[in-house]
């Protein structure tokens, strides 16, 4: 009791111990305590404490402080020995080292890839001058369901600029994708197809977006009609090395543009893809409707964007308020479906609703998978290292008896872990460097890595190294350092450390949980993809080629050419249409039904097509008849969804009723009802569809061909087409390819998850291999005795097998709900989805059992088959 009250301030005592020279420490500390004890009696605790502190501080002088030089020299030799011993250990256990390195390296390669991938996406369009105040004006369309559009009516920007002062800068951009660009050189015509398209751009665009001009005067480059600026790359592509300024190119063979400036090439981290920017006033001749400031309010054209930079401090809600007034003012006759919103620039890349390519949640999933891969590799490390512990127990015992402290031993094992980790990271970096071009090609990404000149990446790898060293090294090092030297030297650890084995089991289970979750994910995605690809879409998609109608075709030219195609041997059927039944392109419209003056509250997809459309695509009628051939809109076909949406009792009921579409410009009676077909990807519900003979809209020949002669047929069509349109590019696409294109994002996810689960399984196998080697080493004698007493090979194999099956079953029980929940979330994206059936999960289970059996099988069988004499003789 008394002792407790008379201890000096602990922190100062510790401080003293820290700085005092070790030779003097005990004596002086004794003195301090003695004097302190005396003072407590004489002066009381408070004063004694104070004096103690003063004494400690006064002792802080050169003769008493431990010398630095001695501290530096001694551990140097020790660290050297750590490295040497570590190195020898690595070389001595090549299998162990290899397994660890391989596992770690493969997960680090993944980590580098994921890091670069995520960073690249986070860096998209982050270099513009007003990141916080730049917005894109977007439209929400509130019908029976809310649809989202990143486009706005073309006059909106101009009105907003003139009516309000909220914005500092406003720029309208209309992008026409897949532009046909031609150059006229004497008698020759050079054609280019630019997938990035051509952008009709207001000059303010370049104040909002940081794309610096290399040639030309910023103030004037894009003011005059028919002027253009190109990126350096595009200029070189079109005009070679000569100065592009003043040169002329043609767009769609009809609109000449004079180059007035050259832009620096667009960086990789922007979503702006167009490399040809032409002045906004040029739109007047190209598309009078779009450039008209009153008519333009009539609808929303794809590609018509409006960017604004708000003045500092202007709240977005206020701007959205004034924008909403535009709907009543400029669209008085339309149903009030438009709601204009401001989307922050930094949201553009991540908002899938508005066509952002990558949702943030997906990046998170990928990051988490990456973290899991690293964790599995760490788990391996821990497993194998603790297995090694037994082999090294003598080493540790000797070191401990010779006076190694716990922290020294701990340090030694951490150094060894660090050695493996950093070697693996260096190896992974090399591997990544070699593999990146292939990875990019495989996943269709454009990730660049600069291993040595990229400080963030280097920092990331360093961070991974340190993190992994601690994650993977801490537990084994703590176990090793904690040995009782006597037990370690006597080799009694086997019996002492049963508990350690349980930790290792838990880790193996964790690994298998991760691998199985990934496998379940992979299987579900594969199922869904197969479902999307092989389900009956309600029409034929095989052997149909969509050939673009020449741009300057008139109705008669198109019809003539259609008949010409039909005569080519090998062509079975031809139809003229706007788009295939299932297509990304569609024309949404609000219709009026019967005599109602009010538009219906849903969006109708109008598919203009001629009378051959049904037979070419094998669409089936449930009521009524096909359209009769016509050059004007006279009759209409609708689908069953439309029948339901119109509130009609049956398909027959719809026949003979009237529909007015496109603001009353298209009128006709319903003559037939089509069985529903998928007009979009499986992500979306089937929309109400209206098919009519609106010839102005025909832009494709749908050609059903005999696949056996596909090549020659296509060649013939191309030849004839080019005869007709010598100044244009012949374009065609197989329908099944373009439908497969709906799922490119899924294809990439599938590839990613396949790769990741393969790696996870690979790492898991390495872990299993390590565990089984350890178990066999531990049970050699037991197996020998069992065999002597009559145990068969099957019996002994089962001894191990049941152990692992147990682990996999436990892992499966944990992985199933996680996988089920995760994949249900993923399937939410689909309106048409495969059921999550038991088979998927059983496959994942069976798969992991199989892989586990393969991994451990050889070793177990080998051990089970050994002559017991061998195993029992060794003592």
């Amino acid at each position: 009791m008394k002792k407790n009250t008379t201890t000096p301030p602990a922190s100062f005592q510790r401080f003293f111990r820290w700085y005092c020279h070790p030779d003097l420490l005990d004596y002086i500390e004794g003195d301090l305590l003695e004097v302190y004890g005396r003072r407590v009696k004489k002066l009381g605790k408070r004063k004694a404490d104070l004096k103690f502190i003063i004494d400690v501080l006064l002792l802080l002088r050169p003769g008493i402080i431990r010398s630095r030089r001695r501290q530096l020299t001694t551990p140097y030799g020790m660290y050297k020995s750590y490295f040497k011993i570590g190195w020898r250990n690595l070389l001595g256990n090549k299998a162990y080292t290899l397994i660890n390195m391989a596992g770690l390296a493969s997960s680090v390669v993944c980590a580098i890839f994921i890091f670069s991938f995520v960073r690249q996406h986070l860096a998209v369009d982050n270099f513009h001058p007003y990141p916080e105040r730049t917005y894109r004006v977007v439209t929400e369309l509130h019908r029976d369901v809310v649809a989202y559009q990143s486009n706005v009516p073309s006059p909106l920007g101009e009105h907003f600029r003139n009516d309000y002062t909220y914005a500092e800068k406003i720029a309208r951009v209309y992008t026409e994708s897949d532009a046909l660009i031609t150059l006229r050189k004497e008698n020759e015509l050079v054609k280019f197809k630019e997938t990035g398209g051509i952008a009709f751009t207001e000059a303010a665009f370049f104040d909002i977006f940081h794309f610096p001009l290399l040639k030309g005067r910023p103030a004037t480059v894009l003011t005059e009609p028919n002027t253009a600026i190109l990126t350096e790359r595009m200029a070189r592509k079109l005009f070679g090395e000569k100065d592009p300024v003043g040169e002329v190119f043609w767009f769609q063979n009809r609109f000449p543009f004079t180059v007035t400036g050259v832009l620096q090439d667009l960086p990789a981290n922007t979503d702006i893809r167009s490399e040809i920017f032409v002045s906004y006033p040029s739109l007047r001749t190209f598309d009078p409707w779009l450039s008209d400031d009153t008519d333009g309010w009539g609808g929303i054209r794809d590609g018509m964007k409006c960017y604004v930079v708000l003045k500092p401090g202007v709240p977005t809600a206020q701007v959205e308020d004034v924008l909403s007034a535009y709907v009543k003012k400029f669209r008085p006759t339309s149903k009030n479906v438009h709601h204009y919103k401001l989307q922050p620039l930094r949201d553009v890349h991540f908002n899938a609703q508005y066509g952002g390519p990558v949702a943030k949640s997906k990046l998170w999933v990928i990051l988490i998978i990456g973290a899991f891969l690293i964790i599995t590799a760490c788990v391996n490390f821990i497993n194998l290292a603790t297995a090694q512990v037994l082999r090294r127990s003598k080493d540790v015992g000797v070191r401990k008896t010779l006076g190694s402290s716990k922290s020294q031993l701990f340090g030694q094992f951490m150094v060894e872990t660090a050695l493996i980790t950093f070697a693996a990271i260096a190896f992974a970096a090399m591997l990544a460097y070699i593999l990146f071009p292939y990875i990019n090609a495989f996943f269709q990404t454009h990730i660049q890595i600069d291993l040595f000149s990229d400080p963030t990446l280097l920092l990331f790898m360093l961070g991974v190294g340190v993190g992994v060293t601690f994650l993977a090294g801490y537990y084994p090092a703590a176990v090793l350092a904690g040995f009782q030297p006597v037990a370690a030297l006597k080799g009694k650890l086997l019996h002492q450390r049963r508990g350690g084995f349980n930790t290792r089991r838990t880790l193996i289970v964790a690994q298998f949980v991760i691998a199985q979750v990934l496998m379940i994910g992979m299987l579900v995605i594969m199922n869904q993809m197969r479902f999307a690809r092989q389900s009956d879409l309600g029409f034929d998609k095989e052997a149909i080629v969509m050939v673009a109608v020449g741009r300057d075709s008139t109705r008669t030219i198109a019809t003539t050419f259609k008949n010409e195609i039909a005569r080519i041997p090998g062509v079975e059927k031809v139809a003229l249409c706007y788009a295939a039944p299932s297509s990304n392109i569609d024309w949404g419209n609000s219709i009026r039904f019967e005599n109602s003056t009010e538009e219906v509250n849903f969006r109708t997809s109008i598919k203009s097509a001629d009378a051959d459309y049904l037979s070419t695509f094998g669409l089936t009628l449930v009521a009524g008849r096909n359209l009769v051939p016509s050059d004007t809109v006279r009759e209409m076909l609708i689908n069953e969804v439309m029948v339901r949406k119109l509130g009609l009792s049956s398909a027959e009921d719809a026949l003979g009723r009237h529909i007015a579409a496109n603001g009353g410009r298209m009128k006709g009676a319903i003559v037939g009802v089509l069985k529903d077909f998928h007009d979009k990807s499986f992500h979306e519900e089937i929309s109400p569809v209206l098919i009519t003979t609106y010839t102005e809209d025909y832009s494709n020949y749908a050609v059903k061909i005999d696949l056996a002669s596909a090549r020659s047929v296509l060649a013939t069509i191309e030849e004839k087409w080019l005869e007709l349109h010598p100044d244009q590019l012949f374009e065609y696409e197989f329908l099944d390819d373009s439908i497969a294109g709906f799922y490119t994002a899924e294809e990439t996810s599938l590839k990613l998850i396949q790769t990741f689960s393969l790696i996870a399984i690979f790492i898991g196998c390495l872990g299993l291999y390590g565990l089984v080697s350890f178990m066999i080493a531990q049970k050699t004698k037991e197996i020998g005795i069992r065999k002597v007493l009559g145990g068969t090979v099957t019996h002994i194999t089962w001894l191990f097998g049941k152990e692992f099956i147990q682990l996999i079953v436990i892992a499966f029980l944990i992985a199933t709900p996680i996988g089920w929940w995760g994949m249900r979330q993923w399937l939410q994206d689909y309106k048409f989805q495969v059921p999550l059936d038991a088979a998927t999960f059983l496959w994942a289970f069976g798969g992991s059992c199989f892989v586990a059996a393969c991994t451990i099988g050889y070793q177990v069988l080998k051990t089970a088959g050994t002559n017991p004499v061998k195993s029992l003789r060794t003592e």
């Binding site: 004596y27 002086i28 003195d31 305590l33 003063i54 002792l59 002088r61």
Partner: protein, 113 residues
């Protein structure tokens, strides 16, 4: 050149060690100086002086017993080496020589003044 390097405080310490004879360890030395000369001795100064003199070879130390009030920490006893004795003697001799060299009149005047 000085033959023996011995500072004022060091001289006091070495003499105190001599006074304490076989009982000279740090706290005892400190107490002795404080009681005899009525001056405060800090632990830091004392230990530095002891260490320095040991390095110079004037002192020799050995570990003693640990007591309860020292929480088992050993005492460190100091002895004067032959060299230390010579150094102390030398210091004393040089002082006395100086004393003797003072002319009587000067001393008295200065005392009186």
């Amino acid at each position: 050149m000085k033959k023996y390097q011995l500072g004022e405080f060091e001289e006091v310490v070495i003499l105190t060690i001599a006074v304490l004879n076989n009982d000279a360890y740090s706290v005892a030395i400190k107490d002795e100086i404080e009681s005899r000369m009525a001056r405060n001795v800090s632990m830091g100064a004392l230990h530095t002086a002891l260490k320095r003199m040991e390095e110079k070879g004037y002192l020799r130390s050995y570990a003693g017993e640990g007591t309860e009030e020292r929480a088992g920490r050993p005492k460190r006893y100091f002895e004067i080496t032959a060299l230390g004795k010579r150094a102390a003697q030398y210091a004393r001799d040089t002082r006395e020589e100086l004393w003797r060299a003072i002319p009587k009149s000067v001393w008295q005047v200065s005392m009186g003044g």
